[in-house]
Symmetry: C2
């Protein structure tokens, strides 16, 4: 225990306090602040563990251009005590990297790359190792191989130093290709709830139609989510940053790793959309020679550059680095897994949000059938439904913190009545929304909610409204079809009687009169139909109108902010 | 840029991916995840910076047993560009510690101590240095001295390695005692809103009545929050952990730093409430000799110990390590700074929440006068008020994330109508609540909301209800006083006339009749008063009743959880 009170009770001096100074590793920090890694709550913790392993598996398979085949098995070992096993058919690890990948926080292949990917920080898997150690004292087991050579390792983490601790590493005699990890955890709980591993994997299957996922639950139930597509998504491209989003600090950091020998060459090679003319413009606006070594740039010079960036009109950032799932594949996947009566899929064009980050929105709404969440049955035995909103960011399902997420907000602010849906909350809908970007602006550490940047909100709303229109057409068509059938029935009932009467009067054959009457009825119904169609055409809001509305909201916000500044000057 | 796609497009092997492995420092991590440190949003970022410096100053002054005198000055240097200066009269730093305190994350005197304190992690001040560097490229300035010797330093942080970078360190020629830090930041904004530095300092002054705070705003306005008490709070005591809250992992960690040579001695010296009898009980339940060296304990043995801990009935954890502000000092402070018409202060007894952590609640409600937040004026020119809820944890004001905080929830679940307050939201109330503990269970990284543990919710509600009763008595007394005055007025009006009449009939002097009538009236009013008092006595809920209600709520929660587990088994 620290001696924090000296004997004479007069308090400590700077020299005495100096003795109390300690340094801590990042592992110790996260051990004390597990909630920052999503390791909070018994159910959420288990879902987070599965999420971290599965995410790593998917990323690895894609880097190796392999159709992913993932098995997840959760075994109950005791009260709130489970083993989690995740196996993939990816490229595997080497004996050199296995320790870093599973036994060292902030190590990995992802943190430093500007690219659309699932993982970002190189923390997740090592965080799980730390939790296994902290709740059971046990190391984790890893088997990894490339089809020719395989090894098995037993390892853990030394949290005092944030270094991997390899306990044993052996050749693995059987043929093995991929990575399998097995770890034990206490103080967690398996549940088939909306925030549990089952739902997480079900949604992962929907957003990764090229993936086959086998899941074995603690009670032995085996569920296979089959792939509905055999296309491995193209590798996302690492896009150089656009000048408009550049900060001085980032620019200086880039100078440390550039291979260019001159600032001018550095600008041209390391930035998106940078042409000769822009370089000239920058030279005019800066007080130093752009032939300078970029490694010698000082803050003030870098600031001159970023200030000039803002004055120049660059071509909009490249968006070709993004890899959407695609309308067809989303549709197939939703059909297979959600089984709705009708599907409406929309893929918006890629665009850019503030700071110059490319992003894109895909939306799919399933209507009727097994869409929506079944909450029970009403008095007549009909299913009572609730809307199901599935949020995704770079193909990863977001299960938590839905309240603060731009995606949820977008669903709630669309006026669904325009599209024939009276109350979206109790509608038989499964709404799938995928936001993909080279940089997802998460609201917080848990990476579970997307920030409501203006441009993102706009795209989300437009995507939903577009799906809404298709849903509307289907709902209206269905209603018309029903009406038509009813009218037809009604007409036909009388047509037979009228035909008999007319046949008596005119001596013509009853059948031929009936046939003619039918023709008249069908013609009449057709006219009615085209009329209804015109009358019921949804009041669409053009993109222009939406933009105007958003503009209005923004101004309102600014006004409120200004008012707050002026508020009560105390005393 | 990383080469993440090899030329033939067939994907990467484990060996190729190995080349992409990188390691990162904790500073790089937090640079990318500033929101985890509360450095998010222009206004919140500025408040967080002030908070970090002021918290360190207060902690330092208390460790040195000095009455704190703190000056905060914010200067506007440009658009969204400010300098923040915070100066204290604490013990100062040494030339050896100044770098670690301001230029290295996860270094300091706090992370490893189980003690009631403001800071916990040794991140805040170094995080601010990183932000200064990242937004302006500039180092920070520190002056520190102990009255005899002083030095000035210019320093920053190397985020690649998380090491301090001392640029210059010189003797400071003038006499100086304490620490002053000066740093420049961009992309922040000063505002006198409810979440700005002014409100933060005002509340800090209330919860630290022994502190004098001088604040100079960017427009030059100088506000002095004077101390209302000259008592330096006693040093909180570092309490050894209670066996009931102990995890295996924590126990093993303690064995690394204990000075004891035997497990039995370790248990006795390093745990709270551990007696001879308990040691005997533990020996009976474990399969190894307690004379063993604690450093040689293995997981399974430690687990046997913690399992036995749970079976033994220990005395409740010590609570004497806590240092409340105290009823009198809170009262004085609220009177001086909030200026209400009436004050009701309650200090609950210390108690323990799950895991064995001691905590205590203090509450104070200011009613009328300048209490509550003034939102404007109504048609008659009267101030329109809104309730003001001031949340504190270990004397630190919590300004953000109020929705998810147990303190806010407690205020909202108390039935204020019982206490004569019709609508608490629009009442002229300032509600001060202070939760102090050796370990505040924050809901998240931002340390801005307290988790709603059952025991904590109960104490918060009881504290508020107790203040409510006092408020009720005052409100009722005030109302009665008004009624009494009115009745008296009315009676006296007629008494004079009646006296004149009676005087004519009885020939007695008008004055003496009037005097007697007055006596009758006053006597009558007194009887009425005691009646009203009985009739209006607030329906109090006993502690027992509250406990029952909480129990009910808990069961309800568990029921819902169970239902979720059973829900829809897909496919």
């Amino acid at each position: 225990m620290a001696n924090n009170n000296n004997s004479n009770g007069t308090g400590l001096t700077a020299e005495q306090l100096q003795k109390e100074f300690r340094e801590h590793s990042v592992a110790e920090f996260f051990k004390k602040n597990k909630q920052m890694l999503g390791l909070t709550g018994k159910i959420r913790t288990l879902t987070t563990i599965v999420h971290e392993y599965v995410t790593n598996s998917l990323d690895a398979c894609e880097e190796a251009h392999v159709l992913p085949e993932i098995t997840v098995k959760i075994t109950e070992l005791g009260n709130e005590y489970y083993e989690v096993m995740v196996q993939d058919n990816g490229p595997g690890l080497t004996e050199e990297t296995v320790g870093k990948a599973f036994g060292k926080l902030l190590a990995g292949t992802k943190f430093h790359r500007r690219i659309q990917q699932r993982g970002q920080q190189g923390i997740g898997a090592a965080g799980a190792t730390m939790l296994a150690l902290g709740t059971t004292g046990k190391p984790i087991q890893v088997i990894s191989g490339n089809g020719k050579k395989a090894f098995s390792a037993s390892l853990t983490i030394d949290s005092k130093t944030n270094q991997p601790k390899i306990i044993k590493i052996d050749d693995f005699k059987k043929e093995f290709s991929g990575t399998a990890v097995k770890a034990k955890f206490k103080e967690i709980k398996y549940q088939r709830s909306e925030q549990g591993p089952f739902e997480y994997l079900r949604r992962t299957a929907i957003s990764n139609p090229h993936t086959k996922i086998t899941f074995i639950e603690p009670d032995g139930t085996k569920t296979v989510f089959n792939r509905t597509s055999k296309d491995i998504p193209d590798q996302p491209i690492e896009v150089p940053p656009h000048p408009h989003g550049m900060t001085v600090d980032e620019l200086l950091e880039m100078t440390h790793i550039t291979k260019a020998r001159k600032v001018s060459a550095f600008l041209k090679s390391d930035f998106d959309r940078m042409g000769e003319k822009a370089i000239e413009e920058i030279q005019k606006n800066t007080h130093f020679d752009l032939n300078k070594d970029p490694k010698k740039l000082v803050w003030e010079e870098a600031e001159e550059i970023t200030k000039t960036f803002k004055k120049i009109t660059f071509i909009a950032p490249r968006t070709d680095g993004l890899r959407p799932i695609g309308e067809e594949r989303i549709g197939k996947s939703m059909k297979e897994i959600v089984e709705p009566e009708f599907l409406s899929v929309v893929e918006r064009k890629p665009t850019v949000y503030q700071g110059g980050f490319a992003f894109q929105v895909e939306a799919c709404v399933g209507f009727g059938g097994n869409a929506g969440r079944t909450m029970g049955k009403d008095d007549e035995g009909t299913d009572v439904k609730k809307v199901e909103i599935m949020r995704f960011a770079n193909r990863v399902p977001l299960l938590f913190d839905s309240g603060g997420c731009a995606i949820t907000k977008a669903v709630q602010t669309v006026d669904w009545r325009r599209y024939g849906i009276k109350d979206v909350n109790s509608a038989p809908l499964t709404i799938f929304i995928h936001m993909l970007s080279v940089h997802i602006p998460y609201t917080g550490a848990g990476k579970q909610a997307v920030a409501d940047e203006d441009e993102i909100m706009e795209e989300l709303r437009l995507a939903l409204m577009e799906t809404g229109r298709k849903i509307y057409r289907y709902v209206a068509m269905k209603r018309r079809e029903e009406e038509k059938q009813q009218k037809r029935k009604l007409f036909m009932k009388y047509a037979t009687e009228v035909a008999i009467g007319l046949s008596g009067l005119t001596k013509e054959k009853k059948e031929s009169i009936e046939k003619k009457l039918l023709q008249i009825v069908l013609h009449r119904l057709k006219i009615d139909e085209s009329k209804t169609e015109q009358e019921n055409a949804p009041e669409e809001m053009s993109e222009e109108e939406i933009k105007k509305e958003n503009e209005k909201e923004k101004k309102q916000k600014e006004k409120v902010e200004k008012k707050q500044t002026k508020r009560k000057k105390l005393k």
